[in-house]
């Protein structure tokens, strides 16, 4: 740092101490949090790190990205990688089955949103893309049934497959399923569920009718597999099938029949939502609820009653009832607690700008934690590709 900057710093500390004399309880409390740098004046720091939810609208909602935004105050807003490394934290709150919830602390929304967007639109999965109907006498039309089939999540690791692009369907880019269901005459109606889809590791069984010029060769089918998929080490142990066995595809009346073959290929959510690996991937900023003054007795009772998600508790100290913030994480920022006369002076609702509560619900092809690492890898690949293009 140059000498000029140092002077700025000294001036800064002086003005800071003045600011502290003015002192607000809420701000002091925030400044004592471990992840807030102690450099900017408290009121500017508050604007930089918190969204304040007022009765009419939230304020200070934007993040300040420009490196020189606080240059006049001697505060460097540029990205320092070592700073980022020291401040960045991830805490897994819950990881069970197909769901994960984790806290991502110390990152800009630009990056958090990039991960979310990639999770929804750019992490590949396998989904049924082509359906060959041999017979369909059910009341569900071909195109409707094909669409329903496309939306079934398939339990298979998409990283083991290639994009089919213009290649002929082979064992590296296509999974073939067969479905044959028939409701016999005189029997009750039959419900066809996704469990009826059976995996054909050898590829399509439907012969190609057009090509009859070579008489002694193997009959041509709609796929050209060079070997059986269940001989491959990845699939020999766990066979491929729909993730859920109880998705209803159609109901067959007596005498109705469906016979088809479904070809699943690799794709991305931006082409069609059926390839999206997540049911939802979303985040919210951590809510922060502060009591700006002691709230006691009837007011405490009223505050507790106001909150629909039960954020506040009442503790009994020497016969006095006092409101406390017990579960700020549950807060939905409905602003019910700051409605009405003078309540906005008693309670402050804020969001922490760099603390994200991230939730991923996988559809089942990959576990949710793997999905997130894949998403980050995809962003890295994008950067790498751009660097290669620029060089």
């Amino acid at each position: 740092m140059s000498g000029k900057d140092k002077n700025l710093h000294i001036m800064m500390t002086e003005s800071e101490s003045e600011q502290e004399d003015v002192g607000k309880e809420g701000i002091e409390w925030i400044m004592n949090l471990p992840d807030v740098p102690m450099k900017l004046p408290p009121h500017v720091e508050l604007q930089r790190t918190r969204v304040e939810c007022k009765g009419d609208a939230p304020i200070h909602t934007d993040t300040i990205q420009y490196s020189g935004a606080f240059a006049s105050m001697g505060f460097d807003n540029s990205l320092r990688l070592d700073n980022f490394r020291n401040n960045f934290k991830i805490e897994v709150i819950n990881l069970k089955g197909d769901d994960i919830e984790f806290d991502m602390i110390g990152i800009d929304p630009a990056l958090a949103n990039a991960f979310r967007r990639i999770l929804i639109a750019e992490v590949p999965t396998m989904a049924i893309e082509k359906v060959l109907f041999a017979n369909n006498t059910s009341i569900v039309q071909d195109e409707v049934l094909a669409h329903r089939l496309g939306l079934i999540p398939i339990r298979v690791d998409p990283r083991l497959f290639k994009y089919s692009d213009k290649d002929a369907p082979n064992e590296n880019n296509t999974i073939v399923f067969r479905l044959h269901a028939r409701c016999e005459r005189g029997k009750p109606r039959l419900t066809v569920k996704s469990e009826a889809l059976t995996w054909l590791p050898n590829g399509s069984e439907f012969p190609l009718v057009s090509d009859k010029s070579i008489p002694n060769s193997k009959p041509q089918t709609y796929t050209s597999f060079s070997c059986s998929q269940d001989k491959l080490p990845e699939f020999s142990k766990n066979s491929i099938g729909p993730k859920d066995s109880d998705i209803i595809l159609a109901r067959l009346g007596p005498g109705q029949e469906i016979e088809l073959e479904a070809h699943a290929v690799k794709g991305m959510g931006k082409t069609h939502a059926k390839w999206s690996p997540v049911a939802t991937a979303w985040y919210r900023m951590l809510p922060e609820v502060l009591l700006l003054e002691e709230i006691e007795d009837e007011l405490a009772e009223e505050l507790k009653r106001k909150c629909p998600v039960n954020v506040f508790d009442i503790e009994d100290i020497a016969g006095k009832k006092r409101a406390t913030v017990a579960r700020p994480r549950a807060c939905t920022l409905c602003r019910e607690c700051i409605r009405g006369d003078a309540w906005e002076k008693r309670v402050a609702l804020r969001r922490v700008k760099d603390h994200f509560i991230f939730k991923i619900e996988s559809t089942g092809a990959l576990p949710p934690n793997v999905l997130f690492t894949e998403a980050v890898k995809i962003l890295e690949d994008k950067c790498e590709r751009l660097i290669a293009e620029l060089s």
């Binding site: 990056l111 990039a114 576990p367 751009l386």
Partner: protein, 108 residues
């Protein structure tokens, strides 16, 4: 790809095919955090065109090099996010295994 002038390489617009807000917004963030950048922004000229333009103006360094550094920074950040996340998942699984040793835990 790069649209600038031959005489002044500190100001350029980079046009990237097959990219959208995902990369452009993340890059704008890392570029803006670089002290050498005086202006940076992006636009998507037409919504049905898979293309994004990133404008970079610098204090003196070639815009191309600054953009490359921003990509490099973004990659380092991503790697750190990935490592931290993997560690956090591992920690979570370990503490969970300690709490309920019989429970089924998938470590991937």
């Amino acid at each position: 790809m790069e649209h600038g002038s031959f005489t002044d390489e500190t100001k350029s617009t980079f046009s990237m095919a097959d990219e959208d807000h995902t990369l452009a917004n993340a890059l704008r963030y890392t570029l803006n955090q670089d002290p050498r950048v005086t202006f940076c922004g992006y636009s998507i000229p037409h919504p049905s065109d898979n293309r994004v333009n990133i404008r970079v103006q610098t204090t003196g360094d070639p815009a191309r090099e600054v953009l490359k550094d921003a990509c490099q920074n973004l990659m380092v950040v991503c790697q750190h996010v990935r490592n931290t996340f993997d560690k956090a998942v591992l920690d979570f699984n370990l503490t969970k295994a300690k709490e309920e040793p019989e429970g089924d835990i998938s470590i991937e």
